[in-house]
Symmetry: C2
Subunit: 257 residues, 2 copies
């Protein structure tokens, strides 16, 4: 079904760009033609939003089969959107908050981000973790919310495929993983070893800390090993997402060869 | 020397966040306490800008030794700044535009970005290339400008250490590299090989394309090999900067072991 709507819907959608708005409704906004079309069929869509221009230029039957398409003036869509140049299509979806139960399995690869704050970094890491075949990504309570629209976009759809545990207590989660036989590899410039000499083939979780502060001392001490990447010259560190991604792919390399 | 200045200086600084403003003056803006203090001593600083709050709270002698510190009202500094929450200190520096001459050496590692557009991606890649010990980074003419303030920040200071060749013609540069014995490794989802079975020890340049379009067909055809990363499930690609960084670190790994 296609329905014309007004300001009220635009305001509701705009409120989903805040954590408060998402928590109150249990919904989040996914923007852009490709990511919206590529969503898995079993992810609950409350409704779609489309701009008049998009609706005029597009066969909407793909969307109508799944949920009502609410069409609004381009100006209103811009207000609903989190982007500067909106594509004119968005899905309002149910936010899933999976628990850590059954997240880890023998031999699994996982990623935990402690207090990571940059949405681009988090989104890119989720996408990379998905590509690397991670069983799950854990975001501790101090991290940005996974349904932040910038994160959703940066995951390029991986948010729909990968189990992302949010709001976790980092230390509790680390202890749980250790009990389940998952070793913890802390990415740290204070690390003693390069990843190339460590075993990333058995169950392992890569720990990545905040962009400025790194990992907390407590979590770093719980880790089975601290790992650093070789660094030329006077450089102190890599971007947090980059360091995490390189470590995940070192695990991919070891598991292939 | 410390001098109080007004709106004129704020406007001049703000104009440096545009390519036009930088091209007309040959200057660019570097913001933030850490990056400004850590600049190499031989990089030409035209002058510093500080907010009144920053100047009141800080011993400015470190800056005064090197160039005049222009102090302006906090509100004006905000106008000069490219960030939402400015730290109150910036350096206006001379932009260097090194040529590709002597950029490559036997056994060197290099990176070329063709038409990469996201400032965060470019900055992160320059930082990663610096960490990986690259001899230089080449940005082709379609890429965002290296002195874009968002790129400068994302490099975390690597922009001052690494040779970054800008505005290059990608195909000409690729041919020059091949003549100088540098092999070209195109990052491409159409690649046939994983990097782990390829030789990254001899002189090599990693080619990374645009976020949406990837590498141009012409450049991909000039490459000595197309390389892809293992990818789980239905995922098509990694973030461009992440893919480039993982390939650069595969070269680091091979060169260490």
């Amino acid at each position: 079904m296609v329905e014309r709507v007004g300001l009220g819907f635009a305001k509701k959608a705009a409120s989903l760009s805040t954590k408060k708005g998402r928590d109150e409704t249990g919904l989040f906004l996914v923007e852009g033609d490709k990511i919206v079309r590529d969503m898995p069929e079993d992810w609950p869509v409350a409704y779609y939003l489309a701009s008049v221009s998009y609706a005029d230029a597009t066969d909407l039957s793909f969307f109508e089969k799944r949920a009502t398409v609410h069409v609004m003036e381009d100006e209103l869509f811009k207000r609903a959107s989190d982007t500067l140049t909106p594509q004119g299509i968005a899905a309002v979806c149910e936010a899933k908050r999976p628990s850590a139960k059954d997240a880890f399995s023998p031999g699994c690869l996982a990623l935990m981000c402690e207090g990571l704050s940059d949405p681009g970094n988090i989104g890119t890491l989720i996408r990379t973790a998905d590509a690397a075949g991670c069983a799950c990504v854990v975001l501790t309570e101090g991290s940005a919310d996974v349904y932040n629209p910038k994160i959703v976009r940066a995951t390029a759809g991986s948010i729909f495929r990968l189990k992302v545990v949010t709001g976790a207590n980092g230390l509790e989660m680390a202890r749980q993983m250790k009990r389940e036989g998952v070793r913890l590899a802390a990415a740290s410039p204070r690390g003693k070893s390069y990843p190339y000499s460590l075993d990333f083939k058995s169950a392992i979780c890569v720990l990545v800390g905040n962009e400025a502060r790194g990992l907390s001392k407590e979590l770093e001490e719980l880790a089975d090993f601290k790992v650093k990447l070789p660094m030329s010259g006077t450089l102190e560190s890599l971007n947090a997402a980059m360091a995490g991604g390189i470590l995940l792919y070192e695990a991919v390399r070891q598991r292939l060869t």
